[in-house]
């Protein structure tokens, strides 16, 4: 259970403040996001840590899916959370923290995608590609297909790519995607539809991807 505003001081007067935010000895798992944000704004490190442990996995997953396999995500993850810390006091609906963090993750990913494109233009490496970080162990077939899929996504604009990821990979609805990416619903609708068709067509032409998809579909039907 996570989101009810806790009258912390009233319910637990004896546990008061060894640190700012009145969360000294509270079982943080039971504290709602709104109370954690309030405590973080007041400087509570425990609240900062609790927010990280509660939401870092979702943010990391969003970044991973937006940027593709074998990317070094830790710096970006820190960027997302520090961006949140800077704006935490202005959050309109702190109980909706996960959605807010995911929207920062999308914006951070957009900047990273643009940075990568610039790096490719100025060819910082001999191949023009950023060196891969060590990859997690994965079935070679699936790994090859994943790289092929993200090669297709690499050809898209940052906006179209993130609309695709938000709508179809993360499964956000149009209004949620629009809010996360700060786009109009109309733009999300058009971009999503056109990008999906484009990605499907390109994937079908790609021998690695089309082979992988054929095997997966066959296995799911058998």
């Amino acid at each position: 259970m996570s989101s009810h505003p806790l009258p912390l001081v009233r319910t637990m007067p004896r546990l008061v403040p060894a640190e700012p935010g009145n969360l000294a000895e509270l079982p943080l798992d039971s504290v709602g996001d709104a109370a954690l944000v309030k405590a973080l704004v007041q400087g509570s490190e425990r609240a900062a840590s609790a927010i990280w442990h509660r939401h870092a996995a979702a943010v990391r997953r969003t970044l991973a899916r937006a940027l593709g396999p074998d990317q070094e995500l830790e710096d970006l993850l820190q960027e997302v959370f520090m961006g949140f810390v800077k704006r935490a006091s202005k959050l309109e609906d702190p109980s909706n923290l996960r959605a807010y963090l995911v929207s920062i993750a999308f914006r951070t990913a957009a900047m990273e995608i643009r940075r990568r494109k610039v790096r490719r233009w100025v060819t910082l490496t001999s191949t023009g590609e950023v060196p891969d970080a060590p990859s997690a162990p994965r079935e070679p077939d699936e790994a090859r297909a994943l790289h092929a899929l993200y090669r297709i996504l690499d050809q898209l604009s940052a906006r179209d790519r993130l609309v695709f990821v938000a709508r179809y990979i993360e499964g956000l609805q149009i209004d949620e995607t629009a809010a996360s990416l700060e786009l109009s619903k109309a733009t999300v609708w058009r971009s999503g539809k056109a990008t999906l068709q484009h990605v499907m067509a390109k994937a079908q032409q790609d021998p690695v991807l089309s082979g992988y998809v054929a095997r997966t579909v066959k296995a799911s039907r058998s």
């Binding site: 400087g43 990280w52 970044l63 593709g68 820190q78 499964g171 971009s191 079908q204 998809v213």
Partner: protein
Amino acid sequence: MTERATDGKARREPWASEGAEADALFELARSLDAPSSEDAPARRFVAAFRAQSDTKAERSRLTMPRQWHYGLAFVAAVSLVLLWFKAGSLPWSGDALSYRVSSGAVASQLLEARHEPIKLDFSDGTVVTVERATRAHVSETTQRGARFRLDSGKLSFDVVPHAERGNWSVDAGPFQVRVTGTIFTVEWLAAEGSLRVDVTRGHVIVEGAGQRRELGAGDSFQHREASAATGGVLLEVPAATARAVAAEPPNAVRPALPAAEKERSWSDLVAAGQFAAVIDAAHRRGAQACLSACSREDLRALADAARLGNDGQLAERALLAQRARFAGSSDATAAAFLLGRRAEDRREPNAIAWYDNYLSEAPQGRFAGDALGRKMLLVAKSDAKRGAALAEQYLERFRAGPYAGHARSLLEAKGRGH
């Protein structure tokens, strides 16, 4: 993937956007979960947070005592008042710009110039003219400009340049036209999907439909959608031609609108993102009449246009009409899910019932994962145990679905006894 042999040659049919192949691709990308059990990143974040808090505290320690703030604020306020008396107006204002509407028209956010143009005089000296046969809205005014939504017709701008960058923009269909200080016109014919921008002075940026163009003095830009399927053709018109065309009376094209509209179905208009055009057309026909008698395809297009065009009430009526008139159809089933979404947005308790309806009517439908996932989240808010049961059900069916992370969190919370 489907392959079919014809005359000895293999021919590949294109993958459908909502088929098993698409699902396989999405699942592939969803496998990128990048879990991390390390504690070091969390410690790094907390350390950065601590450093930032310390810097803030240090900064506030080094700043002057509060009494000094009051003293300085008083001196500043007196200076401003003196300046105001001297100059007749404040050098800047924190307020948003205001505007007066000419020709006796009522000042409101909706601007509808049927027979005569309407002129808006903004407090910074900028003049915006709503030309004849135009419907537009002032969406927002800020300290440095205003944002308009042009439903259909033509707006003319004479923007006063500011030392600080001005912030004026027009949303027209899928386009946004942004400007700092300039004279220009924007014409948007919603039913034709046609945008035209003519710049007389200054600099304008047109963005939308996958395009971005920067226009200078004398430049024109025109976009016409050849068809919804092709997504449109971009034409850049030589300035001289543009001026000649712009000289035509703006109402010259008006009578052609209904005919043009007839050529394009509502579904085509929705596909081209012209939601306002569909909503307008429905209102012209009579919304209720359309809800009771429109074809299934038009009703679906109207529901989509209203949903995506932010007319929630009309969307709800259209979705309910789909349920009533075409019960048992795929549209009616999808409408149940979309009504659930609308109820959820409005924090109405019947959202869960709509999701249940959808799940019972289309247990394998395209929104089944979403309906189950959203139901799970709603139920978990008030009943953690039932939420966890739904989470198990969700993970069983959609192991790598978009709500799998939420489902696992609910199960973990249950495991911890919360």
